[in-house]
Symmetry: C2
Subunit: 343 residues, 2 copies
DNA sequence: TTGTATGCGTTATCAG
DNA sequence: CTGATAACGCATACAA
């Protein structure tokens, strides 16, 4: 039997000869209602197939119990792990998660932010699009006291929460690791710098590691790519390999970049790690499949998501009056595998 | 300046000396409103920082313009591509997407389904949890004419839309490919069968391909794993390699299974594809990184997502009175790479 | 073309 | 402990 008619608290009230307010309270286990009534109501609710309408409740309460997540794409191991962390944390607290992809487009990001606001999400977690150069479109959230957390690719100067890793330190560590393996001519493959500047920070770490270890910084060894495609990485790598002073180490700012580089190096018959040591960034699943296994920097994606969600939840429970929006920095470490180990 | 007070159509009405109904219609570009008023209203809306409250509209309209997606996990290349397909299609139509993960648990699936219903999503796309053995928890959607689409891991008998690949045919093709390469003793590594029976279909295809090519079916060559962990796959593979009649081909029902198997085979110093040819399933990014590159079955994940979303959208536009819920079957093909090519 | 009145399903306030 | 009623913000039927 189809019931084309939604069962509401009115129906329950009528059936049980009670007021809707009593039904509502009973359903929510309000303390001022006798256990007897609560039981009676709940039983009837199940019997009649009552399902609460969150929409109505949200409208009334002015809170939706959903967290909006906006990021460049979800089809990337790192980001889908991050979402997973958000989702699990939110779910435990009874929150839903709506996910949107900006596809690294500023325009889409702006539109989706509007849309999230119109949906009256309780909080927002965002990883900026590659294209994004300003964050004025987020003002609507801060203006309306909707907790906002930037994660991973975050603006450098902003009066909002930020959850991230120390990209500078990680870049330093990665480079230092190669130096420790005996590399003295280290190249850096990275992406053209952006507003969220995770890449530029990694690069700074790279440069400082070189300097502090008395190694020269050679701009010809630094490559800024527009995309992460295999082709672009291959030509860039080939260029490096053709240099007079061919690098003996490569620090790639992402695992896919590193993997493409390795594939290219191998094609040329150059030995890894003996002739060129390689380290990537992110600890993608792929890094354990490429041969030799890729050394990389661990990136606590799921924890970033979890931390972001927790900040939102905490703020929703007890809105911070003071404007202290702290920055959460999670730890990273070098994972040394065969692509760099020269024992 | 913070504005702690939401701007509503009432505010606009007051400011412009118009009725709220006029405002509402103007905002929606209703044809019965003069262009002049429309312009005036829209301008004022922007000026005053008006943002539509989707919640209220949804409650009134009884439609939320959001699609619920429930699947085992999003942190898997195949599934995150699928979501991506849903999301892009939905976004174009002005729909939002809420995503939930069952983590392959029946209990979680049931709870989340309730939650989706309570949120009054306009439609639902679901890939069943591994544990799930029945689908009575979805009855609430069909009972209330909320379009429901099962995708990929779908129930065999159900009066709902299904979007999937032909797992039987794909299993057959994969096996036939190995036979064509000269394999005569082909093992099959798969997962313990489930209600959504994608694996059992693939296995049937495998068996029929053997039979129709006059090859014996040997149960010792068929391995059913409980998980996709490397360890479990490794021990299973070792068992196969220790058999008296060692297989000369392996059809793994998933790329990760195939990759683990390859890694194990290589450890033993057995040559791929000369001594053992391997084919996987899904065309995960990983399959192009393992060496030798993994032959596999293409799986149109994003298209599955897109097709599912389109069915939901079409149904929302013009609800199907008749109960014809068709099954959409997308195409797959063999992608032959080095792990199986024995030219 | 515009205005009036009402309801969508809840919850909170205030009374009893 | 329970009940009556208003309000959340919007969109529609009906009137003008």
């Amino acid at each position: 039997m189809k019931k084309h008619t939604e069962v509401t608290i009115y129906d329950l009230a009528e059936k049980l000869n009670l007021a809707t307010s009593t039904i509502s309270r009973a359903l929510n286990g309000h303390h001022s209602i006798s256990q007897k009534t609560i039981d009676k109501v709940k039983r009837a609710a199940i019997e009649m197939g009552y399902r609460p309408n969150n929409l109505a409740a949200s409208l009334r309460n002015k809170k939706t119990k959903t967290i909006g997540v906006l990021l460049p794409t979800i089809a990337q191991p790192f980001l889908s792990s991050l979402i997973s962390g958000v989702e699990i944390t939110a779910q435990e607290a009874g929150y839903n998660v709506v996910i949107m992809q900006s596809h690294d487009s500023y325009e889409e990001e702006v539109n989706l932010i509007q849309s999230l606001y119109s949906s009256r999400v309780s909080g927002v977690i965002c990883c900026l699009a590659m294209e994004t150069q300003d964050i004025k479109h987020f003002k609507i959230f801060t203006d309306n006291d909707i907790p906002l957390v930037f994660v991973d690719r975050v603006p450098k100067h902003a009066d909002t929460y930020r959850v991230m890793i120390d990209n500078y330190a990680a870049g330093y560590k990665a480079t230092k690791h190669l130096i420790d393996q005996g590399c003295i001519n280290i190249a850096h493959i990275t992406r053209a710098s952006e507003f969220g500047n995770i890449y530029s920070e990694r690069k700074k770490g790279y440069i400082d590691a070189l300097k502090q270890n008395n190694l020269p910084v050679d701009n010809k060894l630094i490559v800024n790519l527009k995309s992460v495609s295999y082709e672009e990485t291959e030509t860039a790598t080939n260029k490096l390999l053709n240099l007079k002073n061919r690098p003996d180490g490569i620090f790639a700012a992402g695992d896919m970049l590193a993997i493409s580089a390795i594939q290219c190096v191998k094609k040329r018959g150059i030995k890894i790690p003996e002739e060129i040591a390689v380290i990537g960034f992110n600890n993608d699943p792929n890094s354990r499949i490429i041969e030799p296994n890729l050394s990389t920097i661990s990136h606590p994606a799921e924890k970033l998501g979890q931390a972001s969600a927790e900040i939102i939840l905490k703020n929703l429970e007890q809105p911070t009056k003071n404007d202290i929006k702290d920055i959460t920095v999670l730890n990273t470490e070098v994972i040394a595998r065969d692509s760099s180990k020269r024992n």
